[in-house]
Subunit: 118 residues, 2 copies
Amino acid sequence: MPFDPATLRYDARGLIPAIAQEAETGEVLMMAWMTAEAVARTLKTGRVTYWSRSRQAFWEKGATSGNLQELVEMRLDCDRDTLLLLVRQTGPACHTGRRSCFYTAVRDGAEVEILAPE
Amino acid sequence: MPFDPATLRYDARGLIPAIAQEAETGEVLMMAWMTAEAVARTLKTGRVTYWSRSRQAFWEKGATSGNLQELVEMRLDCDRDTLLLLVRQTGPACHTGRRSCFYTAVRDGAEVEILAPE
């Protein structure tokens, strides 16, 4: 079946959550949002392009920082309302300089930092 | 720092997205939503409990199907608006009987099923 980004289920703002996972290691790097046009751009260019809710603009990951996300494969879930992106990440994915945005764990009721900036 | 579910950032509906990842293999299984109370219950019981948007009710994963998700570790992202749950999944995570909800890949512009029901 040909894939059409318009057939995904977007929320009231026209957005769909996209999880980025490092293709080689399986590490979950971040979660951000896409519009249908961001999905189309990502597939066309092979460079992951989100929609920035704060800036209300397309956000080609790494276009300014150099920390590009190259798309290896896009997957969708059973409800067609979440995307999983297998990527090759150059440099840290997180704006804090860490490899992943998920650097805080909850252990024994406390927050523990488990990843340092690179 | 002690962890308080109230310090997470919820959307206008009071929800936060939670990604479930199999702790052993790194496979991303599903994405669903939690309220602050669902976060607290999950930490307290060790059984992953979401908020069902369609049923508007707590949804202890596997309580009816037996396909429980046991929490191994909860992590939060830099913006405190997304959770990553490392879990031990009993049976398939997807209601279609597949191990993961992300069983559809986009390859050469077409949708391809990459996981069969177990």
